[in-house]
Amino acid sequence: MTIIEPIRILLYVVGALAFVGVNAAYLVWLERKAAGRFQRRAGPTEVGPAGLLQPVADAIKLMTKQLIVPPGSDELLFRVAPVMVMAPAMMCFATIPFADSIAARNIDVGLLMIFAFGSINVMAVMLGGWSSRNKYAIISAARVVSQNVAYEIPMLLTIITMLMVAGTMNLHEIVRQQEAGFWAWNVFRLASNPLMPVTFIIFFICMLAETNRAPFDMAEAESELVAGAYTEYSGMGFGVFFMGEYANIVIGCAIATALFLGGWGSPVGALPGVWWFLAKMYFLIFSVIWIRWTFPRTQFYGLLNLSWKILIPVSLTTLVLTSIAIKIPRMF
């Protein structure tokens, strides 16, 4: 036990790194391929079969580029910011339950840990934008902060709802409650809250906003802010931000899978396993891509209006409804 444990953790760290790296690379490929198909194009085809080696070529290109630090920028923060996006994202993988037996650590406050680390992302992007000494980047940094603050609230409200339903912060435990089949999934648990699908949608929207994905990509908004906070980053500096962004999407979709879609449980109750988890997670990721290539970007105050005027009241409503639904049966 004492010898095995550090090795096991190490293996998981390496595994998580590899998983994030491969995911970031191949989600780019998937994104480009899917974007192509959504737009009636073929997407990447030239590098390797069906363009499968394209991410490798991209990575080599990014790595060979010079890292430029703009004069007058805060060099330390400028260099640290990409790391600050990547590292917390890696931490979050520690507790994600890919299957009953596949998880680095089964932590009792797993959910809390993920959100604690997840919120560091904001600061990293903000510091990256601020330290770049670029006006576009600074505007973007300001946007990122207000956007993330606004969306953290409805997201956590939905999480509280889920905690009340599940009664635990342990992700394994939450998944195990839903193992019976798709009718037991939290998203369909109408008995404890008739607005459960709405809660799921709110969570999903907030997840999009938190990860700065279209239609909420105010931070990058290339037609307004060139590349937003990443304007001055070159080569792998940008690459790490990029990987961090995709890692955050993977985490967001993984949490959504575990919380709402029954994690590794199969929809019919038989044959649970990691493949179900991955299938559900990648379906959500595909939806994220699908949404990006369908909608235009929202306006900034429209985004905040959506959060403060629609999402927060509705998530509060679901919270109240859930607490009523939980409390009332216990009164009798």
Partner: protein, 147 residues
């Protein structure tokens, strides 16, 4: 309040409609052509750079070196020189060069030609790192085609 809910619901519906449309396109065949592997046929009237037309009987150019094209050209990219050879009724060109770097493919030269001695080629994939690659000697080009 009621309006807000109504707007939210109908707005959400438009989003769903949009997503349905894009996924519908997702499963259709791409419309693009993979250019270097397959290429479209150039239409009959495609305007590439000009070339001289050969007289089917003599095998020489139809050009009579009247310099109409040279005069008509808005960008001064055609240079014609001709002499009257013995035993021939009309002049024939000794030099016919085209500076394709200046040409705007307007077709004035082709239209103005009294003997229809000029026509457009269908060449579109020209690339070079040197300007001199586009100084065409059209007479030599015609000679080259003969062989």
């Amino acid at each position: 309040m009621k309006n807000l809910i109504k707007d939210s619901v109908s707005g959400f519906k438009t989003l769903v409609v949009g997503m349905r449309l894009t996924i519908d396109q997702f499963f259709r065949r791409p419309v693009t052509v993979h250019y270097p592997r397959e290429a479209l046929k150039m239409p009959e009237r495609y305007r590439g750079h000009i070339e001289l037309v050969r007289d089917p009987e003599t095998g020489n150019s139809l050009c009579i070196a009247c310099k109409s094209c040279e005069k008509a050209c808005p960008s001064d990219c055609i240079f014609v020189e001709g002499i009257k050879r013995e035993g021939e009724k009309r002049k024939s060109p000794t030099e016919f060069s085209l500076d394709f770097t200046k040409c705007s493919l307007c077709g004035s030269c082709v239209e103005v030609c009294p003997t229809d001695a000029l026509r457009f080629t269908k060449e579109y994939n020209l690339a070079s790192t040197e300007r001199s690659a586009y100084l065409y000697d059209l007479l030599r080009r015609l000679e080259g085609q003969k062989k």
